[in-house]
Symmetry: C2
Subunit: 325 residues, 2 copies
């Protein structure tokens, strides 16, 4: 990781730990940026007794959670740093006296200026994973956890960030033939469901709303695998496509149960199994934290194959950035 | 409200308030029962500085939030009292020393026995709203808020529960022609999106996963109106149907923005506007808490019209309760 990035992470961690009392961690962002922070919120929920929650920015502002105040830490994210609701959310939180941290690719953006602390990430194909958005956020989360309650496990997780890039490359190679084949076969589907849980839910959500709906105009919905049997499973049929991710974390039994049922009735399943990933270089104890990051990247390659087969580039939009809304 | 129900509510409130310190309220249930508790969680978030969160039962068990312990209050719900994951969640929480409360229609069910306190509700068409699930839960929430921090507003909300039934009847009459017409016109749609926010998000979620997917085998997804512009809106087109609910609560601006855009491009929108409901009998100050309950009932009548037009009764299932899963 670049020194510039690490210095910013260390400054933000120091500021959080300097607080005498923290009542709540709020993660606040929109769409893909919200999805990106979901695993972080999930890990905080598992690892620290300080509660945390996640909001889409405009709901956060209008709901105005009563616990929000000087004891709170609010972590916002916008890739461009220009998402108006997220900028307002950071300003709103800062106005309430909360410690505000922004995660962004753009230096000196409105969000950057709205927050007290900034975590900066790179965004290009040449960058190492550790300098990209997930590398930055995961390093911050584990450095924070380690500062709040020092533990060898968190140190291992921080070290793991340097090895995720290699795991991703291997997983993409491993899944390339299946992804290419599935995309070719199901390129004409008008609707594709995604399903996941735990840290991977955010990746399934992001794939549904950003990759399929936004970038491919394919109807979609992200089903939590724990919710599948409580309604959604009744739409399952031989011709209904599902992308299912089996987590390598504690919620794997939920995913396995959903997959076992769904694969009996649907003939169009793409399964991503995080236990198939080669995670060497990452200590076994902390692999469950990183499975979703690798899945997310495999999903991203599936989107590339779909876009190619459909002749519909991922950059095409009809509304976004093209008009007022 | 029947005395039996009120006595149980009072006992549960007393038990919560007797705790010296409450660190967290956990709402835990599956599918429709989870959706049913979403507004309660939302209201707690707005009204008390004690944080709260909501989980699908199996994720709660496998995640094992670190803050869960003797200072926690865990509110579970299962209509039948037999949902295995929710029964386990109550047992798990009780094992951690948390105060456990179960909301259920069935007395002496496994969930009933698993929890320390029970809120019982009736479930038949003759019952007054106050004795049904939402009447019971809302009364509990406002009695609890009033016990934690006495306030005239909460008393008004408790009083309001007696008037919701009448508001529902009027709203169903008001919307009957539009609902019947929409259901007739769009009965052959293979996919219908729902959209809402704030207290109404749970109703939109419940309609998508339980009424449309489970009971009508219509593909669906619930889109949070604050998330619509961050991906999902790109699927909007003249022939894509959306059911949009404009809340009468603080997140109404989100719904209005989504509706204003969506209605420019989709020709198949069913709008439910909570500001059109006749809420007389309910004090203006507390109406925003109850808009979603009325919307939920209007949505339920839309499901009846859809079921009639499609010749597909709401009770039909192909998997649920018919096999092991």
């Amino acid at each position: 990781m670049k020194k510039e990035h690490m210095d910013r992470i260390d400054a933000a961690v120091k500021a959080v730990v300097a607080k005498k009392h923290i009542n709540h961690f709020y993660f606040v962002a929109c769409g893909g940026s919200q999805a990106f922070m979901m695993p972080a919120r999930y890990i905080m929920d598992m690892e620290t007794a300080i509660p945390s929650s996640i909001y889409t920015s405009n709901e956060f502002i209008h709901t105005a959670p009563k616990a929000l105040g000087p004891d709170s830490v609010v972590i916002t994210c916008s890739h461009s740093g220009n998402t108006p609701e997220t900028v307002k959310a950071a300003e709103f939180a800062r106005g309430k006296g909360a410690l505000t941290i922004a995660v962004s690719n753009l230096v000196d953006s409105p969000l950057w200026s709205a927050a007290e602390y900034q975590l900066h990430y790179d965004w290009d194909k040449q960058s190492d994973f550790s300098d990209l958005n997930k590398g930055i956020l995961f390093t911050f989360i584990f450095k924070l956890l380690n500062a709040l309650e020092p533990c060898r496990k968190y140190e291992k997780a921080i070290e793991a960030v340097d090895h995720v890039g290699e795991c991703i490359r291997k997983a993409r190679d491993l899944y390339a033939p299946e992804m290419a084949g599935w995309a070719k076969k199901y390129k004409r589907e008008p609707l594709i469901y995604t399903m996941g849980s735990g840290t991977t839910y955010g990746e399934a959500y992001s794939f549904a709303i950003c990759l399929l709906m936004e970038m491919q105009w394919i109807n979609s919905s992200c089903i939590h695998s724990g919710e599948y049997f409580h309604g959604p499973f009744e739409v399952t049929d031989f011709d209904v496509p599902f992308i299912i991710i089996k987590s390598n974390g504690p919620t794997r039994p939920l995913d396995e149960r959903a997959y076992n049922f769904c694969s009996k009735y649907s003939e169009k399943i793409m399964l991503i199994d995080e236990n198939r990933f080669d995670m060497s270089g990452i200590d076994e104890e902390v692999r469950p934290y990183f499975g979703s990051v690798v899945s997310g990247s495999v999903l991203r390659s599936l989107a590339d194959y779909l876009a190619y087969e459909r002749g519909h580039e991922l950059s095409v939009r009809r509304y976004m950035w093209k008009m007022e809304y």
